[in-house]
Symmetry: C2
């Protein structure tokens, strides 16, 4: 058990999402000591959410029998465009945030150094630094959930690009003229392979009279449908659900192929709620389709893997960000 | 006029293509002194092509009233997968080359240091270093010709990736299930927007009875059709050619949008024979479609431009490669 006195030697990673806030306490070797999770309640307004982030960190610290004095720094991932240098969230649609000085507000509440990044970037950083021990020189972290996002590790470092918006792979068009995307365009990767896209296809199928275990499990309006239900339906031999999930896996494989052709990373690590729930069902199709789409001779030594960090990728990346940012001064 | 004696202070860039070899002589400030162009004659075999590369360099040096003793180094771009560290062309389908020790063979013939790279990478390097004075921190060079390729400058440096095959944007699928590509897949960017794809659409249209100035200009079999003919037909108000070229421009715009969403570069510079011939006709559509496909708020300060280097991008990049490689020792 960590000692309750002593120097500030712990790091906190925070994953700020549209529905929940998660905080994790890490030691200097980046081992996870404990986590806390509370709901975001973004409808209560920006100040309330900022207070809840601070509370979640305090709760996690307390849960681990530590005090805030033993924390060195906090790394927070936010779901949107983040100006890391300034510590501001420029735009986060799921929180209804525009230009929120996240770093300043949390530093004020907790009196500790705070660093911020985009959530997908932090997830990729967590997978790269902790799960893969920083080994791959180039890695793409691809996260399939309600939406689809990616974080790019190029030459061993997080790559952000000119507007710090690199990795918006969910809006890579892969089926021009295809289904409408929330962004206004058609045929985006997110519009054919995210959880949202899968659920839409299933709802449309049921309307057209498709038989599925899902309506028996959840009723015809599919209230409370989750990725795990898809797995349960497929394991009950539900052919329709299997077909819809396999189609999404095919598009994911094709998109992974696009990314390998473009960036030739050493590892593509997949994560997010959809992959976590359906790894066994989707990964073989994803890997096959990706290999089919990569140019001959250019797949050598490249691995496509499902991350084992699951829901903890974001908090892990937050701890890595905090540690590295402190080192850089 | 350069002095015919003196120290080795000139750099040679070579663009080795499937149909022609071009060599350019540059001074230390990377100003172009003169060029020579000969046909490749790849059907004569690898040794013959290697001899012709050496001859093209000798001819260019002579054309500029210099001697080989005044040349510091040579940078060569080859159309395929290149192992720059080893100076080998791993695979170049247009030359029918597999594992050719290009550096060693040219060093043997000319007794000068030789450096090698993929041709699209060298074109991007030339545009970045010479045309844009090395200013953009992140730049994508996108080249539309018989095929489609790209070179990526990230964090000021050429990015190659794990298998040195990064930038294979021609095989990014943007229309899943679309037209068959030479690579075996369907709906690749190259299969809907390269010169080859445009020519196929025009030939198919003529077969279906479309009226076009092109068949009047060249006969119904379109022998010797070139990109410039498309421009001439459009300027003669040929609606069919205009439509086909505009469709290709729309796909290029969409692909540029994908690349900006993914990498957030400061500049996307377009080049290659199709853009050179049809810049005025295509660039407005390309720019509009790209902007339409980039996520709101992430286009700030990003420029989409047509390169002015044209056919000289490759030799320019060769000279830059030679100069930088010498500096690095």
């Amino acid at each position: 058990m960590p000692e309750a006195n002593g120097k500030p030697e712990y790091l906190v990673g925070v994953d700020l999402g549209g529905t929940k806030i998660q905080a994790g306490i890490y030691d200097q070797k980046l081992s996870l000591i404990g986590t806390t999770k509370i709901s975001t309640k973004s409808d209560r307004g920006t100040d309330a959410v900022l207070d809840r982030i601070a509370r979640c960190v305090r709760d996690a610290v307390d849960e681990c029998d530590l005090s805030l004095k033993q924390v060195q720094a906090i790394g927070i991932g936010a779901p949107g465009a983040v100006d890391s240098a300034e510590g501001r969230v420029i735009y986060a649609p799921n929180l209804d945030w525009k230009d929120v000085p996240l770093r300043k507000e949390i530093e004020k509440r907790l009196d500790l150094p705070v660093f911020t990044e985009n959530d997908c970037n932090l997830c990729a950083l967590g997978v790269h630094a902790i799960e893969l021990k920083g080994k791959p020189r180039h890695m793409i972290g691809l996260f399939i959930g309600t939406g689809i996002g990616a974080g790019l590790i190029l030459n061993g470092e997080l790559y952000n690009g000119h507007n710090r918006s690199a990795g918006e792979v969910g809006h890579m068009v892969i089926l021009a003229g295809g289904p409408k995307c929330a962004c206004g365009n058609e045929g985006c990767f997110e519009a054919v392979a995210s959880r949202t896209a899968i659920f839409k296809r299933i709802a449309a199928g049921i309307k057209e009279g498709e038989k599925t275990e899902l309506s028996e499990m959840l009723g015809d309006n599919l209230k409370d449908l989750r990725s795990g239900d898809l797995r349960r339906a497929i394991r009950r031999k539900d052919k329709f659900t299997e077909k819809v999930v396999d189609e999404a896996a095919q598009y994911i494989g094709l998109a992974v192929g696009n990314l390998i052709n473009l960036l030739s990373p050493e590892v593509v690590a997949l994560g997010g709620g959809v992959i976590e729930a359906l790894e066994q069902e989707m990964m073989p199709t994803i890997t096959k389709l990706a290999r089919d789409h990569v140019l001959p001779g250019t797949m050598k030594g490249i691995e496509i893997v499902a991350s084992k960090l699951g829901d903890n990728a974001g908090i892990a990346g937050g701890a890595v960000l905090a540690q590295r940012s402190l080192k850089r001064g």
